[in-house]
């Protein structure tokens, strides 16, 4: 019985965004990363193979984090004391690109200075040739101050700067505009809010091919279903031709998963939770697998083993199936 394979064809295409610049392009990266460009729902390779595959970013910090799970601190070891060493190590475990997430204060509790942020960024760029995303600490004033300095000091490297939110995006976008960088735009799990922020950023003159959208996600057990569905809806809207949703998506399953008790705590938890280390890695990877299947173009992870596993998942998903 010949079955007609139901193929969708869509009007819309996701835009491509390229991060990093090689020396020929005015930067110092060994290679660039391009995401986006899909004309189908994720991995519908029987309709059309996507020009770019999802990539894995590894999150590092400019100083040893104090609130990370001991499992993460153990696995990164001394590398986590120094952003350059950490960047090298992250590259060695297979990162496609890096996220440097700046901390609000230095080790002594004083506000992180723009000089320190710039020094850390330069150290990372010097140690690894991967494309780089830099996130501010997540407080408007600090974000603006630190990211502006970083943007200026790295002009031409085509970083992505984040996180732009509806209450705070102007300074970051202006800094990206003036220094040839990209931005990431985060909204709380809502298609219309995502569109709105993309419009506001685009209205400032930043071309759409320099905006990544971050629709926000939750970890397994802590809201992943909302993140999962909003990504499916955003990607459907993009393919249906809604221009302001046609941007590649970045999500942070590493941050979300490693915030949960399941990943952070090894003692005095129910026996039914099982082995701590494997549970924690599962928490991160299973969150990430679900998000990759719902349309993520960049997943930001924290554990090296998760990086390996998600690469394997992406490999399998992007293989074009030999089918009639």
């Amino acid at each position: 019985m010949p079955v007609e394979i139901p193929k969708d064809s869509w009007e819309g295409t996701v835009r491509t965004v390229t991060l990093g610049a090689t020396s020929a392009e005015g930067g110092t990266r060994s290679r660039t990363i391009t995401v986006g460009g899909q004309k189908t729902l994720p991995f519908m390779n029987f309709e059309q193979t996507a020009p770019n595959r999802p990539v894995v970013a590894v999150e590092i910090k400019e100083r040893r984090p104090t609130d990370w799970s001991p499992l993460l601190l153990d696995v990164w070891g001394d590398a986590a004391n120094d952003p350059a060493a950490w960047a090298k190590q992250a590259e060695a475990v297979g990162a496609d690109l890096l996220v440097l997430a700046l901390t609000l204060t230095d080790a002594d509790g004083a506000p992180t200075t723009p000089q320190a942020a710039v020094a850390a960024t330069k150290a990372v760029l010097g140690a690894s040739a991967l494309p780089l995303i830099v996130f501010g600490p997540g407080q408007a004033e600090a974000d603006n101050e630190l990211l502006l300095a970083v943007a200026e000091a790295t002009k031409g490297e085509r970083l992505a700067l984040g996180i732009c939110e509806d209450k705070n995006y102007r300074t970051i976008v202006a800094a990206a505009l003036a220094n040839d960088h990209c931005v990431t735009a985060r909204t709380p799990m809502d298609v219309n809010l995502a569109k709105q922020l993309n419009i506001l950023i685009h209205d400032m003159g930043l071309p759409l091919d320099r905006i990544l959208m971050d629709p926000t996600t939750g970890a397994l057990g802590y809201g992943i279903e909302y993140g999962y569905s909003v990504m499916e809806r955003l990607r459907l809207a993009a393919l249906q031709g809604d221009a302001m949703t046609q941007l590649p998506m970045l999500v942070t399953p590493g941050f979300e998963a490693w915030k949960t008790k399941e990943s952070k705590v090894g003692q005095d938890v129910p026996e039914a939770w099982g082995d701590w280390a494997e549970r924690a890695i599962n928490w991160e990877t299973l969150t990430a697998v679900a998000l990759v299947e719902s349309g993520a173009d960049i997943v930001v992870l924290r554990h090296p083993e998760s990086v390996r596993r998600i690469h394997k998942a992406i490999d399998e998903l992007t293989i074009s199936p030999e089918m009639a």
């Binding site: 019985m1 099982g274 089918m323």
Partner: protein, 446 residues
């Protein structure tokens, strides 16, 4: 093909008697066409009309129910491709696989560990659904013995795996009175397997490497009199499985293509490594599997997979909630502290579990925040000083305690000023941001 509402209407009695709960036959017909009601809700349909309508009222993905000793696993009856369009209904059943070349003791050990496994997530008790027994020896007696070993320690539904009708027949004799899933029928054995399925009232898996082959076999088996089928499109990798499961679901829902209108079974257990198995299982949950067969049972993998399954199968229109009210944790006295949180299940249980396991008594006031987390509710104006004060009054919290002191979540520290205005005779304390830090906070500061 599915009938339209009007076509269905023509087959109904057209008396508008309202016995179905709808004002008119036409209204009922429209609901039936949209597959939102069952034909049986109208008691007056004539038999010949029934036969014609049965087709139209059948769900696009047939509901398959496996039963054993009072346990039940359902798959199918799904109506959407994306959960946001409505919801996914029947959570895929998890089955742990054992083989008949294992010793009876090994089988029993593996099965009883998984059978007794239970993990609590937001007040729900999550567990494995059943077991798959595979005949690898090709020996009816060995298969039968393995099933018996399983049955000594578990009463849950079974999947019986063998392509040899003789071996399968022996296994089925062990599970009389149950509705297991047979695995399965292929192009060479389908008639014999079909006979067994009919005899035992068992569901039967159809195995083929292509959709053409699957549709072919499923059609033959249905005509042969086996209504309860499950599909194995034989994909064992993420990419192929995603493609095939999507195609099957699309054909069933969009084209109402009956030959593929059955639940799909997935075999993450065939992965070479444990981590691949867990990712394949996660994928199977999100992307349309009805039954999931696993090999390596470990709590650290089962727990996240069970949670993912809860999450993906939550109704997107209704966040899981707990009843607002004042909850007593560890037998609080009038001297125990009052903590306030929202009625989103995940939020409530993350707080309640921490306090409970600390052994410290407390009153936990659960405000009606329309089922939203602390920050979501705060941002949406559903968890503000006014609402909290209202709950304090509605649940007579002041009468329960000697000291009027209430702890608010650290994430909404900004509320403390307004809280002081709303509850002038109360002391407002800002707690830690995360529930994990509550026990330490309670010990030191309360």
């Amino acid at each position: 093909m599915a009938l339209s509402g009007i076509q269905i209407y023509k087959l109904l009695p057209q008396t508008n008697c309202k016995d179905c709960g709808f004002p008119t036959c036409l209204a009922f017909a429209m609901k039936l066409a949209a597959k939102q009601v069952e034909l049986s809700a109208c008691p007056h349909v004539k038999d010949e009309a029934k036969a014609q309508l049965a087709e139209a009222s059948e769900p696009p993905v047939r509901l398959i129910t496996l039963t054993a000793n009072g346990h039940e696993v359902k798959a199918g009856n799904e109506v959407v491709l994306f959960r946001h369009e409505k919801t996914f209904y029947n959570k895929p059943g998890f089955f742990l696989r054992v083989r008949d070349d294992q010793t009876a003791d090994d089988i029993k050990a593996a099965v009883s560990a998984a059978d007794s496994y239970m993990v609590n997530y937001v007040g729900r008790e999550l567990m494995i659904d059943g077991f798959a027994v595979e005949a690898v020896k090709g020996d009816p007696a060995a298969f039968s013995a393995a099933i018996e070993a399983v049955r000594q320690v578990s009463h849950r539904p079974l999947i019986l795996i063998s392509r040899d009708p003789n071996v399968m027949a022996a296994g089925l004799r062990n599970v009389d009175g149950e509705h297991p899933l047979m695995y399965g029928a292929d192009a060479s054995n389908w008639q014999a397997m079909g006979d067994l399925a009919k005899q035992h009232g068992a569901a039967l898996t159809v195995i083929a490497e292509s959709l053409d082959g699957l549709a072919d076999l499923a059609t033959k088996l249905k005509e042969y009199g086996v209504p309860d089928l499950v599909l194995d499109p034989a994909a064992r990798k993420l990419g192929t499985s995603l493609a095939l499961n999507t195609q099957i679901r699309r054909l069933a829902l969009r084209k109402n293509f009956r030959p593929l209108g059955y639940p799909v079974i997935a075999f993450p257990c065939d992965a070479e490594e444990a981590y691949e198995e867990s990712m394949l299982a996660a994928h199977a949950i999100a992307k349309y599997a009805g039954f999931v067969v696993l090999d390596r049972f470990a709590p650290e993998t089962a727990y996240p997979l069970l949670v993912l399954r809860e999450n993906i199968y939550t109704d997107p229109q209704k966040p899981i909630q707990v009843q607002p009210g004042i909850y007593e944790i560890n037998n609080p006295t009038p001297d125990s502290p009052v903590l306030v949180t929202t009625n989103f299940s995940i939020t409530y249980f993350s707080v309640a579990n921490e306090v409970e396991s600390s052994g410290l008594p407390a009153w936990l006031l659960v405000a009606d925040a329309e089922g939203m987390s602390v920050l979501t509710a705060w941002a949406a104006g559903k968890f503000d000083a006014e609402r909290i004060a209202k709950s304090v009054k509605a649940f007579n919290v002041a009468d329960k305690v000697n000291k009027k002191r209430i702890v608010i979540p650290g994430h909404v520290a900004v509320l403390s000023g307004e809280m002081e205005e709303e509850l002038p005779d109360w002391e407002i304390r800002v707690g830690p941001r995360e529930a994990v830090d509550l026990p330490a906070f309670m010990k030191q500061s309360l």
